[in-house]
Amino acid sequence: MQAVLWSVLKLLIVLTFILLNAMLLIWLERKVSAWIQLRLGPMRVGRPQGWAQSIADVLKLLFKEDIVPSRVDKVLFVLGPIIAFMPALMVWAVIPFGPNFVSADLNIGVLYIAAIGSIGLMSIFTGGWGSNNKWSLISAMRSAAQLFSYEVPLVLALIGVVMLAGSLSLTDIIRAQQETAWYILYQPLGFLVFLIAGIAEVNRTPFDLSEAESELVAGWHVEYSGLRWAMYFLAEYGNLLALSALAATLFLGGWTAPFGLDFIPPFVWFLLKTYLFVFVAMWIRWTFPRVRIDQLMDLSWKFLIPVALLNIALTGIGITIFS
C-alpha cells in the first residue's frame, strides 16, 4: 500500500515539476534572448524581472476561444496536441532525480527514451496533416525528414555511453560514472553529436525548419490557438527539459556530486546540470541562424553519422585496450 502511494506521489511530483519547469523555461527563454540582444525582456508582470509573465500567458491562453477551423480533420486536429504532450511527460519516467528517486527504473531506459522520442514526430505530423493547411503540411513533411535523419546519430551517440557503462539503465549509467568519471571526458565526440542531434530532435533553432516563422508562418501549429497551442508550446519546452536532463544524466553524471561536494543534495545537482544544458541550448538558439533544408540533411548524413560511427569504433578500441 505504502509503495503504491509512494509511486503515485512520485508521479505527481514529477508531473508538477515538468509543467512548472516548462513555464519557467518559457520565461527564461525570453529573458535569455533579451539579455543576448541587450534588452531586458519581460519586466512588468511580476516584480522583480517579470517572473509572472508565463503564468499570465498561460491564463490568457486558457481563456481564449477554442477555435477548430471548419475543414480540418477534427479527430487528428484534437489529437495532435495531446500526442505532443505525451512523450514530453513519458520520458521523465526513467530519468533519475536522485539515488532513489526514479519513477520507473527500466533496465532498457536508454532504448525506451529513444523510442519515446520518435513519438514526438507523430504529434507534429498529426497536427500538420489534420490542419488542412499547406504550411502545416510542408512543415510536417520537413519535420518527418528531419527527425528521421537525426534519430540515427542521436541513438548512435548514446551507444558509446552504453558501451562504457555496460547497461541500458540510466541509474546504472550514473553509478558507472560515479565509479570512473563523467562520460563527457570519455566521450567528447559522442557528446558533441548528442548535443547537435538533440537540439535538432527538439526542433530548436538552428534546426527549427518545421517551425520556420519566416517562411511557414508557424509551421504545423498555424491553425492552433488557445489551449491546444499552449499544449504544443509547453510540450516543446518539456522536450527541451527532457533532453537537457538526459544530457546531464548520460554525460555529466546525473545527480552525483562532483569534487566531493556531497552536502548539496543530489536533486539540486541534477537540476543544476540540467539547467546548464538548457542555457547552452538557448545560447545556441540565439546565436545561429536557421540552416537550409539541404544543409540540415547534409549535416546529419554526411557529418554526424560518420562521426558517431567513428566514436563507437574508438570507444570499442578503447574498451578492448584498457580493460
Binding site: V32, A34, W35, I36, Q37, L38, R39, L40, M43, W283, I284, W286, T287, F288, F303
Partner: protein, 156 residues
C-alpha cells in the same frame, strides 16, 4: 584532408559566434524603462514655447504681436491692455499646440525675453481642446525647470 580542415574551420567560426553572444549576454542592457526612467535631454532640445515671468511672477509679454507675425503656422493669439502703470501688458496669450511646429521663430522674434522653448515632450491628451494652452498654463510651465536652457539662434 580538406574535409577535416573544412570541419575545423566550421567549428572555429561557430565558436566565434558563440563568443560574441556570450559577451553581449553579460553586458549591460540598453533598454530604458520609460515611465520610471527618463532620457537626459540634450541641451538644445526644443519643446514648445512657454511664457517667462519677471521677478514678481508677472508676464513679461507686452502684447506687441511680433511673435504672432513671426509664427509660420499662425497658432499664437495675443490680446493686450493698458496695465495700472500705463504700460501695455498681455491679457490673453493662447498657443494652439495642435499646429505648433516648434520652430523657435516666436522666441527669436520676442524683444522682451518673454518667450522661451521648454523641454516638454509628453504632449498627449484626450481632447483636441486640451491642446490650446492658455496664458496661465504657459506661465506656469515657464516657471518650471528645464526651460530656456539655451536660446537657439540670434534674436531678430
Amino acid at each position: 584532408m580538406s574535409y577535416v580542415r573544412n570541419v575545423a574551420n566550421v567549428v572555429a567560426t561557430l565558436l566565434v559566434g558563440l563568443r560574441v553572444t556570450l559577451r553581449e549576454w553579460f553586458s549591460r542592457s540598453i533598454t530604458l524603462q520609460y515611465p520610471e526612467q527618463r532620457w537626459e535631454l540634450p541641451r538644445g532640445y526644443r519643446g514648445h514655447p512657454v511664457l517667462l515671468s519677471d521677478e514678481e511672477g508677472k508676464t513679461k509679454c507686452t502684447a506687441c504681436g511680433l511673435c504672432v507675425r513671426a509664427c509660420p503656422t499662425d497658432v499664437i493669439t495675443v490680446k493686450g491692455a493698458k496695465g495700472e502703470d500705463g504700460k501695455r501688458v498681455a491679457t490673453e496669450w493662447v498657443l494652439d499646440m495642435s499646429r505648433c511646429i516648434q520652430c523657435n521663430l516666436c522666441v527669436e522674434a520676442c524683444k522682451f525675453d518673454a518667450l522661451a522653448m521648454s523641454d516638454r515632450y509628453e504632449l498627449a491628451c484626450y481632447r483636441r481642446e486640451d491642446l490650446l494652452y492658455d496664458m496661465d498654463t504657459l506661465l506656469e510651465l515657464g516657471r518650471g525647470d528645464g526651460v530656456a536652457a539655451i536660446t537657439v539662434g540670434d534674436k531678430l
